[in-house]
Amino acid sequence: MTAQDTIRARARELLENGEVTTFIGWESGRFENQTTPLVITDASDADKLVCNEYCVNTLAKYARDVVTRGKVGMVVRGCDSRGIVRLINDQVINREDVYLIGVGCAGVRDRKTGELLKKCAECRHGDPVICDEMAGDAAGRPQPSERFKEVHEVELMTQPERSRYFEGVYAKCIRCYACRDVCPCCTCRECFVDQRRENWVGKQNNVAENRFYSLTRVMHIADRCIECGECERACPMGLPLMKLNRKVIKDLNDLFGEFESSMTLDEEPGKLITYDLVDCEEFM
């Protein structure tokens, strides 16, 4: 029995006996090897569910939108499960709101080239960090060796080079906010970009204000980013957003000790809402 069969069977059971009211997974898309997220409420739709190496979307954030309808069943891989942990730890959903069927993930692939997606090549946790049951075995994939390679490359540039590089990046940004919408850490009831009274950030589509939007986004997810890489994948303009997210994670690691966000439900408070008396001092 493949993981997909198990998922279909369990989704049907869960919906039939009312344990969950909705189930989130993927279905086949219009094109070959394409999938899209699928939310079903009817057990008879369970056979539409697929689970293969082309399920590129991370599902966690969908849970937030459907959880008001009742308990949600969903398929989780490493990234999905950490997204769920994030949502739970940020009090967006409760643990008992979701029933998680875990699958081991060896990475998903580009539907045309068949190559491993960048986010998966960099992924450190293919297997779910929490789940209620596993469909199939854990993948136990090896850790990629260099978590901060990209960041390091940028750091090695000179200041003018970096400035020019990011100007190029932000020149492309179209301010569609897909990076925000797809991010499991971006769960504010009202996003700062939408707050008119404070007017936190300029709303013109120009290089400077695009940059400041992005900086704010990075600071907001800083110590909570789960490194799922969805922002980068979802970006229609192909901006290297993980270079920013990982820069902050790298600095937090270097300055305040190693950590990885959203690995457990009882994780320590984030690095930016705690402090240590012996933190290094560079502002004297």
């Binding site: 394409q34 200041q159 990011f166 120009n206 290089v207 940059r211 600071m219 920013l244 001092e281």
Partner: protein, 181 residues
């Protein structure tokens, strides 16, 4: 955030009357008091700095720095009590972490380190306040105005990543791959 070379060329166009604008966010209990003391002692420092009073450096939202840079300040200084002396006990410990990360991030994106500085200045350190203001103003003056690139340059449409293409590809015959590329 302009680069140094760009500045140097831009400097040609900088009028002689240009003066750097520096905003200093000062905590009420230490640095603002120190700044007042500098006044009481009739110390002299450049008028390019404007002090904005906040209750505690822990109140310092990075967004204010962004706003200042975006709206035309050439440099930003954030000051608070020395760690251990915070009137609210722990505010500057959090500020220290947040500002260390934020400063690194700004510099990573190419901002000159001199344009955003953080200093701990106590209520007694009027001299340090004066010296800090002088050095920050001079450093920023040397860098020239912060000419943020705003205009989006003309550039070729980037290769549209997958997914997006699927979105455009209705019907597929109409949107052959060459076009989207």
């Amino acid at each position: 955030m302009s680069v140094v070379e760009a500045n140097k060329t831009a400097q040609v166009g900088v009028p002689d009357s240009w003066e750097p604008k520096v905003i200093a966010f000062c905590c009420h209990w230490c640095t603002y008091t120190g700044a007042d003391l500098a006044g009481l002692n009739r110390m002299n420092y450049p008028a390019n700095v404007r002090v904005l009073r906040i209750p505690c450096s822990g109140r310092m939202n990075p967004q204010y720095v962004i706003e200042a840079l975006n709206k035309g300040c050439d440099g930003v200084l954030v000051c608070g009590c020395h760690p251990g002396d915070c009137h609210y006990v722990t505010g500057n410990y959090y500020a220290r972490r947040r500002m260390m990360i934020f400063k690194r991030l700004l510099e990573y994106e190419g901002l000159e380190p001199e344009r955003f500085q953080v200093r701990w200045i106590s209520g007694a350190e009027a001299g340090k306040f004066r010296d800090t203001v002088m050095s920050v103003v001079e450093q920023v003056r040397a860098l020239g105005p912060l000419n943020l690139t705003r205009e989006i340059p003309q550039f070729e449409l980037p290769a549209v990543p997958d997914g997006q293409e699927a979105f455009n590809a209705v019907p597929e015959e109409v949107m052959p791959e060459e076009v989207s590329a």
